[in-house]
Amino acid sequence: MPDDLATATRSGPGRMLVAVYAIFALAATARSAVQIATRFEQAPLAYVLSAFAALVYVLATVCLAKGSAVSRRIAYAACTIEFLGVLIVGALSLLRPEWFPDATVWSVFGRGYLFIPVVLPLIGLYWLRRTAR
């Protein structure tokens, strides 16, 4: 029953999960749009990664809100990529700070955002697992 699956995915705690994802989608999209439009040459790697993060957040938000079998699979992938992204970018921003003259959402594991970026994908994956069946 796909309708029940969709309702389960976006209701209860899922309602708030989607809301938090939407905030990050909005914030990351707006931020990277401004960065790329106004000063791309200053920190190209950081700004490309910001845009990539924005894309992942938008994808996760839409797919969690939709909650169909296919979109849940995409959300799984988005959350996984998001978690790996936070870990890799977070580590690189500490080990190779010269690559990042400006911060991305994922710099230092999302320190600029109360470390929510490193926890959010784990909650997303947990929620997808819990509502599966």
């Binding site: 209701s11 209860g12 705690p13 899922g14 309602r15 708030m16 989607v18 809301a19 938090v20 939407a22 905030i23 909005l26 914030a27 707006a30 931020r31 401004v34 439009a37 106004t38």
Partner: protein, 121 residues
């Protein structure tokens, strides 16, 4: 941005978020009084949007205009979107969505102030 309005909005959003803890705990939807507070806050945010754009258009300061206006638009967008998204939620998580939105707004206002202060005349 030295003015009363941003500070009043920070206080109003935090107080309203605190008032929502009641409905959250009792797993009820917020009543008419809280919704009128949302309306007042949104009205104040719209005034802040217009005032901020006028301010940034007329200033000698080297403000990052795109970022500044982006944050202004963000503050106006958050609460209506949260109300829409929480509308069909029957559990307490609908209240949680509204609380999150009300806590994001003061963060955005503080960032607005930082962007304003970071720009030099």
């Amino acid at each position: 941005m030295p003015a009363v309005l941003p500070e009043a909005l920070i206080v109003a959003t935090l107080v309203t978020a605190a008032l929502l803890v009641g409905p959250l705990v009792r797993a009820r939807r917020p009543g008419g009084f809280l919704f009128s507070l949302f309306g007042l806050i949104e009205l104040g945010l719209l005034v802040l949007l217009v005032w901020g754009i006028v301010l940034v258009a007329g200033t000698e300061r080297d403000v990052d205009v795109a970022t500044f206006v982006g944050y202004l638009v963000g503050t106006v967008a958050v609460l209506p979107l949260a109300v829409l998204w929480a509308r069909n939620e029957t559990s307490r998580w609908g209240d949680a969505v509204l609380i999150v939105a009300l806590l994001v707004i003061p963060v955005l206002i503080v960032r607005l102030n930082q962007i304003w202060d970071a720009a030099h005349a």
